[in-house]
Symmetry: D2
Subunit: 346 residues, 4 copies
């Protein structure tokens, strides 16, 4: 009954997912690993009894030993692998981004619609964070009234020198783009990007911090501080402001230390520490869903359509960064095949 998962990509995130599938997720195993660097695939597979290795992800998809696929290779390779998995009728969990731009994402959407089955889930793990889930429930339960505003911050202690000024939007704030659509059950229709005073600690070519403003169809205004050189820790903040109240994401709890004149709580060092349980839950629910045979995308998880929407918001945000202007987010109409954000698939 164990789900045999083929893993494409044996890099950092591939290693992480492999470990998770083997050691954390119940009812799943890694049955095959592919990487363009075959040696790297073999190294990873060494710790997984019976796992096959390939140099091409397409061999993974074709393998009879593979029931479902996890795509953790580099962004530009996502589209062909996901399309191939759809063609093969195999469920595929694709790390974010679904594909590098909205056009590529749209091709995936169209292929999935044509297949008639929900086969694709995109790795937006915040939907599985207990804090975000509690916020969403509070909103749905009417505890704060209709949403009017949201304030977000996405802070990393530092980023590598390879980070370029588009990446705060496409690699970092992309999580808020999906999370806010999901939390608010609303669509982002326009974006702006503001550039505050640069942090002297940021890589010298990097515009950091940035502030992303997102306006939704109902007029809710979301501001996102993207701050990649904050030094002090990995800190994710979010407050939804409704007509009668607000709900705020708590920082993860552990213990409070009193010493040296202060009471203090530890802040996570990085996204692994902060969202580890959400990554675990995300893959567990996906594996359970796939094993149950119904579908390749768990209820409430990010679909191809969500991946496309995130890519379209990213594209508009990059244009806004470039022009300094408020920029509409233009997308196709949602196929009936996908539930909209306001009423996600059950």
């Amino acid at each position: 009954m164990t789900l045999n998962v083929g893993l494409i990509g044996a890099g950092m995130i591939g290693h992480d997912h492999a470990r998770r599938l083997e050691r954390v997720v119940a009812g799943a195993r890694v049955s095959a690993v592919a990487d363009v660097d075959l040696e790297r695939a073999r190294d990873l597979a060494a710790g997984m009894p019976g796992a096959l290795t390939y140099a091409s992800g397409h061999d993974i998809i074709a393998s009879p030993q593979v029931d479902a696929v996890v795509v953790a290779s580099s962004g530009p390779t996502h589209e062909p692998y996901v399309l191939a998995a759809i063609a093969a009728g195999k469920p595929v969990f694709c790390e974010k981004p679904l594909a590098p731009g909205p056009d590529a994402c749209l091709r995936i959407v169209e292929a999935e619609v044509a297949s008639g089955r929900h086969l694709v889930q995109v790795g937006f793990m915040r939907r599985y964070d207990p804090g975000y889930q509690a916020m969403r429930q509070a909103l749905r339960d009417g505890l704060i009234g209709a949403p009017l505003l949201a304030h977000c911050a996405h802070r990393n202690p530092s980023v590598p020198g390879t980070y370029t000024s588009d990446m705060p939007l496409t690699d970092t704030a992309v999580h808020e783009m999906d999370a806010m659509r999901w939390l608010l059950a609303d669509e982002v229709v326009a974006v702006s990007v503001l550039l505050p005073r640069r942090n002297g600690r940021a890589p010298s070519h990097l515009a950091d911090p940035q502030v992303l403003l997102m306006e939704t169809a109902t007029g809710t205004l979301v501001d996102v501080e993207i701050n990649l050189s904050c030094a002090y820790g990995y800190d994710i903040r979010c407050e939804l402001v409704g007509e009668t109240g607000t709900v705020t994401l708590d920082s993860p709890a552990g213990c409070t230390l009193r010493g040296n004149g202060t009471a203090s709580q530890a802040i996570p060092a990085d996204w692994r520490e902060r969202f580890g349980p959400a990554y675990d839950a995300e893959l567990q629910v996906w594996a359970d869903t796939v094993a149950a045979g119904h579908d390749g995308c768990a209820a409430g998880a990010a679909t191809s359509w969500d991946g496309y929407k995130a890519a379209a918001i990213c594209e508009a945000a990059l244009a806004a960064l470039d022009s300094g202007q408020r920029t509409p987010v233009v997308t196709k109409d949602r196929p009936a095949f996908y539930a909209d954000a306001a009423s996600p698939r059950p």
Copy 2:
């Protein structure tokens, strides 16, 4: 040795200051009260042994029984009273706004400079809030590095139906305009106003909430949520984000109640509850300063120049609200007589 204070204006805020001067501030008393409605002045003075009453604030200023003046009358009357107090050489504490627009404020500034003495203090009481003071100290102590961003929220449970759409900026956010200049020791050079989805609970003609963006000379970007129909309480929030850390205003502490499945803390009902101790401290320090004979404006308090700056930011914000555009804040150069925000008077 008691400081004899003449109070101009016997309305709500006048009553509040009278009570404070008589019953909270050490070393001061109300020696005279003026109001255009003389009956109102007499009612207020009834509880204050020996207090004279007048129908005109100018009589207060001229009275030999008055050492210093508190102006708590309606905004348009501030300018003539403050100018008269300067002319009489009497220290004057003027409730915000100093005067309705930057031009009127500038006339006060010029008169004060010409007088050669610091005689005017403006009632921006947040400078005396322990939480704001702790934030400012943290910034000055280098605990968060150079400031890059600030996030503010100014929430009232509701406002009267008489509130018009300019007042969220001129009556409400004006506190943040002064507080951020003082906290950041920086000048606001441009503003924008965004209008999110309207709160259905707001008076029908009122644009509420609003978001004010302020950019400072050094590039720090300040966002202020102005939310006057939040229903749940009076809530003032502020976070300064620096290059290596952040500092956040705590909500006032009391006790935590555990019951019915929640742990909860009370939120102040209104500004009186939230900032009562700051109002008390503000007037005490002013009375101490005046009584010491040095000056009519306490070190670190808001001067005429600060009142002028706040008025200029308000004016730009109203233009930004009207045009929907980013609007520069244009002001005169600061006279050497006033310290700048970055290096306030000792």
Copy 3:
């Protein structure tokens, strides 16, 4: 209309009260200072225009320039001064302890009862702390049901080498003895003292920490950690546990600093910082009450009877420390003149 206060005792706490009466409390001044060391009295009076100086507190009490008396001299001198003030019919605010033991306190109680007037207030300032007041209100409002347990901690960073093992009970926990009677509106009927592992940082002869257990007439059990060498700050904790909920004293709020991997809040350095506003409020309310001519003890403040009760609990606690046994608290019956804790004077 200014209340002329005579101050007995020009030591540390005397200086503190003098400064408070002159510079913080509205409607009061220090009109005379006495100290056995006359030079010390003169030094203190130097900063107070018109203040007389004496070598004996009895001269203060007799002085026509003195409307009311603050006793801040050493503990053993309290009884004669308070008795003299009662005899002179002058209101007297006496620092804790009212007198060194229950017998001396009882003599004061009897003299006050005989005088037919409430002339004595004891300096238990926690009754004026907003956090404690909020807890008491929550209990009275029925928000936690009937009280069953209370957990307290009284932590000082360190104490002088002169501290002896009785003082954690008589000088430190005495505040909890009064505060818990007042909070719970209940009487302490038995006490025990436990000695945990000694803190190696404590003075070598000092039993520190100690745990005081107090049982009330209704069976509520109070535990108090008395910890005088905790190093990290001055920390006062209290939780009341009722039948349906609990209420916990919050630590004073200021700001939260995020830096170096932690979110942290400052802890007060000492009792002055923690309870400064409570000391201010206590003397202001006392001065207001006295000036109003009704009484020498504010409604809800600690009376002579409360001072006697605290002394009786101290005496029992010392016996319990000595014997290692649970020890009943034995006191006289309350004169009708005093309201009981459960129904304090309005």
Copy 4:
């Protein structure tokens, strides 16, 4: 490679562990279920493909389809099943208590020592709670100095009418007995039980709340409020007080709701919600350890010896409840086979 686990006991906790082994724990499955009520075993096994069913736990232990055993049957049956598993050389995870009294536990200890292998793990799940783990790490890292005191509270909203007055100690506080030995790395040498005012909401025959005092070999004093009718939620509190600081267990974080004049956080409804992740981690680590073939008890988990110690503390606590006296905890010397609490098995 999947670990085949035989489950003894198909009651409430058995169902919970079955679900966990099948759906949460990676690398394990339930291969057999036994219950004295065979129908109940069959019902439970129905959802687990291939699981055998038996009426006797001894059949489970003997089954070649069973690699390791989970004992979740009623307390009195634990001893024979655990002894049988040891005799069979099969690892056994036994829910707390290990056995109803110290003598029975000691027989298990002796059998395990004689077997020469660590085959038994006891289900004290708090050792796997992230908050407790962070507290323990803080203590070990020297962040609070040597421990002097600990304050605990164990609060349930209510308990069934079947709860008798021994159960607050043996079924509830037993978790604190183990957790404090593990946190403090110290042994409990004496206990007392205090009975505060009874909660009127408790079942009429139940002494509730109770306060358990535990003294350790080094003199650390632990107080535990056991409160089984607190109404408001399931609340577990713990503070360790050391020579230079303290560390406090945080309540689990989710989100903070601001509404109706309060800021509030949800409190878990029951132990499942509060400790669900700890139960999950506990079984995952046990399964990993067993699958690795080294041992039947994970490093840091509770051994038979820890189960014996908890039973001995319970026995002393019951005597203390009965007598009202401080009661020593008397135990055998620790066999060299077991690490002591201060230096647990690596």
